[in-house]
């Protein structure tokens, strides 16, 4: 599955997915399930290499959020493109809990949703297309303005107009 990260196709995923019943490799970046994290927190925290977690979209991020900073990768899932729970999870991880690691979208990731995902805080996408980088670049250009603050920190039209009126400088603003 091609992995698109910050707009570029990544040849090989640095994180090795490890099944719940498989032994952890001695070293190297691993991606584990939320269930495994719950069961083996101490062991996983003790590792000296990057740690990734797959979060089901039913997990309440308000509970998980305080732990987010321990991770270098959080994978959120879209079981169907119409199941939009992970947009809110992503927003909360970025805007509420200040998570700065990789936030990856997996599942039914379609080009027409990339714009929404990017604005909600995703910076990596598993997307089954050869031309993923091109469609992502195009998706980001869908709209020249935004009507609301989101996790990407862009200034909303409402405040853009105020700034124009006062002809002051436009600053990026925090989402919350």
């Amino acid at each position: 599955m091609p992995l698109l990260k910050n707009g570029h196709i990544v040849g090989e995923d640095a994180f090795q997915p490890v099944a719940d019943d498989a032994a952890l490799p001695a070293s190297g970046a691993v991606l584990v399930s939320y269930a495994r994290w719950q069961a083996e927190k101490d062991q996983l925290s003790g590792r000296n290499s990057p740690l990734g977690i797959s979060l089901p979209n039913t997990v309440d991020v308000l509970d998980f959020g305080p732990e987010a900073e321990r991770f270098d990768l959080i994978v959120l899932s879209f079981p169907k493109f119409g199941d939009g729970r992970a947009y809110s999870q992503a927003h909360l991880l970025r805007a509420r809990f200040g998570y700065t690691g990789e936030l990856r979208a997996t599942g039914n990731v379609l080009r027409d949703q990339l714009w929404h995902m990017q604005r909600s805080g995703f910076d990596a996408f598993e997307i089954p297309r050869e031309d993923a980088a091109a469609v992502f670049a195009k998706a980001l250009q869908s709209f020249s303005h935004v009507y609301q603050p989101a996790a990407d920190g862009r200034v909303s039209a409402l405040k853009q107009r105020l700034a124009q009126k006062q002809s002051g400088p436009q600053k990026k603003e925090a989402a919350e």
């Binding site: 308000l62 119409g82 990017q118 909600s120 303005h145 609301q148 039209a157 409402l158 405040k159």
Partner: protein, 552 residues
Amino acid sequence: MYQYDEIDQTMVDERVAQFRDQVARRLSGEISEDEFKPLRLQNGLYLQLHAYMLRIAIPYGTLSSQQLRGLAQIGCKYDRGWGHFTTRQNLQYNWIRLEDTADALADLAKIQMHAIQTSGNCIRNTTTDQFAGAAFDEIEDPRVWCEIIRQWSTFHPEFSFLPRKFKIAVTGSPNDRAAVRVHDIGLRMHKNATGEIGFEVIVGGGLGRTPFIGKTIRDFLPKQDLLSYLEAILRVYNQFGRRDNIYKARIKILVHEIGIDTMREKVEAEFAATKDGALKLPQAAIDQITAQFAPPAFEKLGGVAAEYANAFRTDFEFGLWARRNTFKHKQPGYSIVTISLKKEGEAPGDAKAEQMTAVADLAERYSFGEIRVTHEQNLVLPHVKQSDLPALYKALKAYDLATPNVGLASDIIACPGLDYCALANARSIPVAQQIALRFKNWERAHDIGELKIKISGCINACGHHHVGHIGILGVDKAGEEFYQLTLGGSADDRAAIGDLIGPSLNAADTVDAIDTLVEAYLRLRSSSDERFLDTYRRVGLTPFKEAVYAAA
């Protein structure tokens, strides 16, 4: 009226370009119908029984003359010279070709209009009081807040794939004409004890197969916190609303299942974390939008205009019309005029292109170029000088637009029903037409007075039957169209869901039953001032039920 600036115009133009590309990908087979469906739905394009239907957003029901004229032209160019006004204050074209949709949207963009989020599981067009900015009883113009909500909700990245559709309504008047208690979120502007104006926030109302009257989640919300609070509700809903069953996915089910207190806890916690963030509305931003809704340049008028008083005395038909179809304006010497799209025997809410053009011209002449669409499927000229009313009446009459029946038995809300809709069980339009013809006699109709009849062709309740004084629901009974009657529903400030009266009836018996119910009311009412709804509330279901089923 709000006018697009360069930002708004760029956004709708870019949306047209995006959709043109999506349609091309669908036509070339690059994307499946399954993948295309949510894309076309978020652009208002439905596949109906016979053709595609395109639903145009009329933000908070406000149109300029130029826009209405443009809608008429687009109706001629891409449809069959008609437009259909809906209960969401929107307009639908019922005969659109997929290949034409991008061009139709491009034409709409030229008149600052679009079909964005008129369908799909996203935040829909915000609706409001059709008399906003004009009504005598208004605390504040709710359109300012509708516009702020429109901008915030447009292409919201987090809330474009909600469990289900999401509808917000705002009223700026204590007399609720926007049905805020039967919306996913209803906002009622009011003054608190210190005289500050803010919002009562109501959540979890709705019709459909499981109707609920919304519950108050917050008594008073300061204005600058509106978007933070809405976002808090939406974030809770997006994460916890049910997605396992489409019929249980609306926020009303979440509120019902977890209870309003738990819902409030979650929302307030979310709100507390965000209220002082980027969504907080600076007063200057509120002022900037408010300035766009500045009242038109009213003349200072005193007393009753001679032309008006004279016509009222001498022209009986004018008097009937003026009594039913005008409403008290906040500016002395002006009236709000409702143009009925319910001429007996026509499909409710339908307007021919030449009628739309005529209304656009008349609005320019008599109402500062402003038109409103009502959720009851009529049009409104919000600012008419009373001295102009006789001339306006005459002009409307020439276009079959002066039916004096606003609020009467023939002013029926009806969904498109089985004549157009792929979901319907039964036809709505012919039933509405037959009932309206039954109450065509003006003397009887005016004697009966206010009576809101609402018809839905299926359980999805697009015709708002649950909140009709008399509600009619089409059901399928072994392949035959039958209708269930409910009584006592209301969408106003005393909102109520109607009570089922008894076994369903066939179409002919249904029309007779409405007649019987009205006759029963006329016998039961305490005086001619007691409306049907008030009589029902006083005497209850039994005497009405007995009247309808006595013969059986």
